[in-house]
Structure formats: C-alpha cells, structure tokens
C-alpha cells in the first residue's frame, strides 16, 4: 500500500517537474486552470453531498419501502446505473427544458452526477446494511426497540464503518465524471484546458498539468477517506 502511494507521488512530481521545466509561460495559464479546478471541486463536493443523500434514501426505500415506493427506488437505481452518465447529463440539459424545467448548467451538473453516483451508492449502502450481523437486529428486538430506532441507532452506525471505503471509490468516480460537465458548457478544469489549448497550443503541458491536478484532487479524497475510516473504526469491536 505504501509502495503504491510512493510510486504515485514519484510520478506526480516527475511529470509536474517536467511540465514546469519544459514550459516557460507556465504562469500565464495556471490562474485559469486553478479557476477551473475550483469549479471542479465545487461540483465534486455538491455532487457528493447529493449522492450520499440519494443513496441513503434510495437504499432505505428499496429495502424497507412499501410497494410503489420500493418500485420507484428500484427504477431510480436501475435507470441511473444502467445508462451512461453523459446521456443522463445531456438528458437533463437538453430534454428537461422541453418540459418547461429550465435549470442553470451548474445545477444540472450537480444533479446529474449526484443522482448517477447516488444510484451506485444506494447499492453500497444496501450491502453495508446487510453486512451488519443479524444478531444486532435480534438484540434490538429483544430490547423492545422499534425498527426505525434500531436502524438509526444500532444498524446504520455499524454499516457506516463498512461503507466508507467503497464511498471513497465512488467519490473518486464522481470527481472523474465531473470532466463530462465541460460538454454542457461549464468552465470546469477540462473546459479551461481545452480553452487554453485553443489559445496557446501548448497541448502537451496543459493536458499533463490537468491530469496531475485531477490526480492531486483524487489523492486528497483518498487520504480523506482513509482518515475517516480510521476515525470511524475507533470504538467498533473487531471480530464478533
């Protein structure tokens, strides 16, 4: 694990160094790219929050919902997992206005990516809840806890620990998917890169730096989820 991180860091610094040293006008386009990176970060954070909320609602509705609510949740999960993120993005961007719903591109971006990743997240939440030993439910029943209370106080906190690593992966997936929003005219990192590329024609440097920027953000996410994992695992009994 450490070996892997070391390798990644080495490659990052090598490519960053290469890009900086090979391009004298580096300072000219770095502010623009940083602006783009800031938009990318905003969409990633907004999308992640929406994804977590949708995943919790989706998973709960699929597991404990009655008839129509459960079907709705299943339909949501299957549709958003079964079609591609770009198609969803375009659908919300081009088709919704025909139904009289006009959203600004930023909202569309956050909604599409949040809903997409939320559908995958719902399955993660479901898996994590199912991985909590049955005895926990039985003990809650024995203690005369209502189901909802047992779910909230006993089951979800334990499931939470199990779902952090897959959520880390999903957040990185979401970060990578934010590159798509450049195609609906949002000036994120990818959009800025193309714009700069058309002005300066320094293709090699720009795209290399952009790749490294994405890598840096995803390393931050990885480190963040690892930390959260250690914090959350504290006080949880290991073994059974």
């Amino acid at each position: 694990m450490q070996l892997r991180q070391l390798a990644v860091c080495a490659i990052v610094f090598f490519t960053a160094g290469l890009a900086v040293s090979s391009f004298a006008g580096f300072r000219e386009f770095i502010p623009g790219l940083l602006q783009g990176a800031w938009v990318t970060i905003q969409i990633t954070v907004g999308g992640s929050l929406l994804a977590v909320v949708m995943a919790l609602i989706g998973a709960m509705a699929k597991m404990y919902g009655l008839g129509p609510i459960r079907w709705l949740a299943v339909a949501y999960i299957e549709i958003f997992r079964g079609t591609s993120a770009l198609v969803q993005l375009f659908w919300l961007f081009f088709v919704l206005p025909h139904f009289g719903v006009v959203l600004d591109p930023m909202t569309v971006a956050i909604a599409a990516l949040g809903l997409n990743v939320g559908a995958y997240g719902a399955e993660v939440v479901r898996g994590a809840v199912n991985s909590v030993p049955r005895g926990q439910w039985e003990a809650s029943v024995a203690l005369n806890m209502p189901r909802a209370l047992a779910l909230r106080r006993i089951i979800l906190p334990q499931a939470f620990v199990a779902m952090i690593p897959p959520w880390g992966n999903l957040f990185i997936e979401l970060l990578k998917a934010t590159a798509l929003v450049s195609l609906i005219t949002i000036s994120d990192l990818t959009f800025k890169a193309q714009q700069m590329n058309q002005i300066t024609f320094r293709t090699v440097e720009i795209f290399t730096i952009v790749l490294v920027m994405y890598l840096a953000i995803s390393i931050v996410i990885t480190v963040g989820t690892r930390t959260l994992e250690t914090i959350a695992a504290r006080g949880i009994a290991r073994g059974r």
Binding site: V87, L175, F207, Y214
Partner: protein, 225 residues
C-alpha cells in the same frame, strides 16, 4: 406534443447505424483492455522493483484521472509527437487503456488467489515459467474473475458516449447532430438512454448467468454430477 413517433421512426435508421459504431468501439476497447490488463497485472506482480513500481504508479495514475482527459490527451497530445490517430482509434485506445488498468486489478486478484503450491509443483515438474503460466496458472486464475471483467465490459460500454467529445460518430454524437438539425432533443437523447438501459440490463442478466454457470463448473470440475 412532447413525443413525436413519426420523428422517432425517421431518426431510427441513423441511430441504429450509429449503435453499430458504439458496439464496435466497445468490443475493440474491451479486447484491448482485457489483453493490456493481463500484461499490466503480470508486470505489477513482478519480483523486480523497477518493473512493478512504475507499473503500479501507472495503473494508479490512469485509475484516478478522468477518462475524458485521457481521450483528449491521446487525441490532441500524441500528434505533437508525430503520432496522428483517427478519432475512433484514439478513443478506443483511451478506453482500452483506462479499463485495462481496472482489469489489471481484477486479474491480480485472480492470480493472487492461486495457491503457491501450484507454482512449487510446476517447478518440481520442471515446467518452464512460461508453460506454468500458460497451462497451469492462467486456466485457474481467469474463470473466477470473468464476472468482474463482465462488469467492466458494461462500464466501458457506458463510457463510449464520451467518444462524442472527439467527434466519433457514435450513438451520442449522432443523437446530438439529429437534435441540432431538427431542434428536437427529446426523442434522440431519450432513445439513446433507453438503448443503453436495455443493453446494460441484458448484459447484467448475461453476467449473472455466466456467474452461476462458473460457480457450478468451478466447484465441480469436469462437470460430473
């Protein structure tokens, strides 16, 4: 009127032709990914550090950057070095590379599950490393990971609309062109969405069947009841 069936029938032939391009890109991309993934997995498991560490770094790098940028990188940056690729080829290479690094992790899991006794027995039988790999290790390592590979095939299929960004005339690009010609985006984009949904549901069902079949045969080699 939100939905116009006569327009749907009018654009259907164009979309069906485009879906062939999508499927072509999926198949070619996945063949590349499957081969490249195995090579990367073997290189990453190498005992020699100067092979395994750069490979690990490469795989992690590819896995944590957006595939769209990788497509742009191959399409726009390679020509700077004199390698001019048609859009379709660049797209297939980018998708193959991206999913190849995902597949390499799947293969690695399969390869690491082979008990070391298999290697030791092959050495005892004086089999060369190549023969051991080809005839002993691979046949045991690949079948259990086929379902996981299948999931990546579906994921790759769902990424093919990204090729529209470099103007490959696949499904999404065709839908966009049709939409911009008639100012009706509802039908083309909805049809594309439905196409992907149906195809991935069918693929998911197929993967489940393959998984069930493999579970039966792997637990019961030779198929004896």
């Amino acid at each position: 009127m939100f939905w116009d069936w006569s327009y749907v029938w009018e654009i259907m032939p164009a979309l069906l032709r485009a879906s062939l391009v999508t499927i072509q890109a999926t198949v070619l991309g996945f063949i590349l990914a499957a081969v490249l993934g195995l090579v990367l997995a073997i290189m990453r498991m190498s005992k020699t550090n100067w092979i395994s560490i750069p490979t690990a770094g490469f795989v992690e790098f590819i896995r944590s950057t957006p595939v769209l940028i990788q497509i742009f990188f191959i399409y726009f940056v390679f020509p700077e070095f004199g390698v001019v690729l048609p859009a379709m080829v660049a797209g297939v290479i980018a998708l193959g590379l991206h999913y190849g690094s995902y597949c390499s992790e799947v293969y690695r899991a399969g390869l690491e599950n082979i008990p070391s006794g298999q290697w030791e027995a092959s050495i005892a039988l004086n089999l060369s490393p190549y023969i051991t790999f080809r005839d002993i290790i691979i046949p045991q390592a690949i079948p259990p990971v086929v379902p996981a590979l299948g999931n990546y095939l579906v994921a790759l299929f769902k990424e093919t609309p990204l090729l529209s960004a470099i103007a490959v005339l696949e499904l999404m690009q065709t839908a966009k062109i049709l939409g911009s010609e008639s100012f009706r985006y509802v039908e083309p984009i909805t049809i594309v969405g439905a196409f992907f949904l149906v195809m991935s549901l069918v693929a998911a069902a197929l993967i489940r069947r393959v998984e069930a079949y493999l579970n039966r045969t792997l637990r019961n080699p030779g198929g004896a009841r």
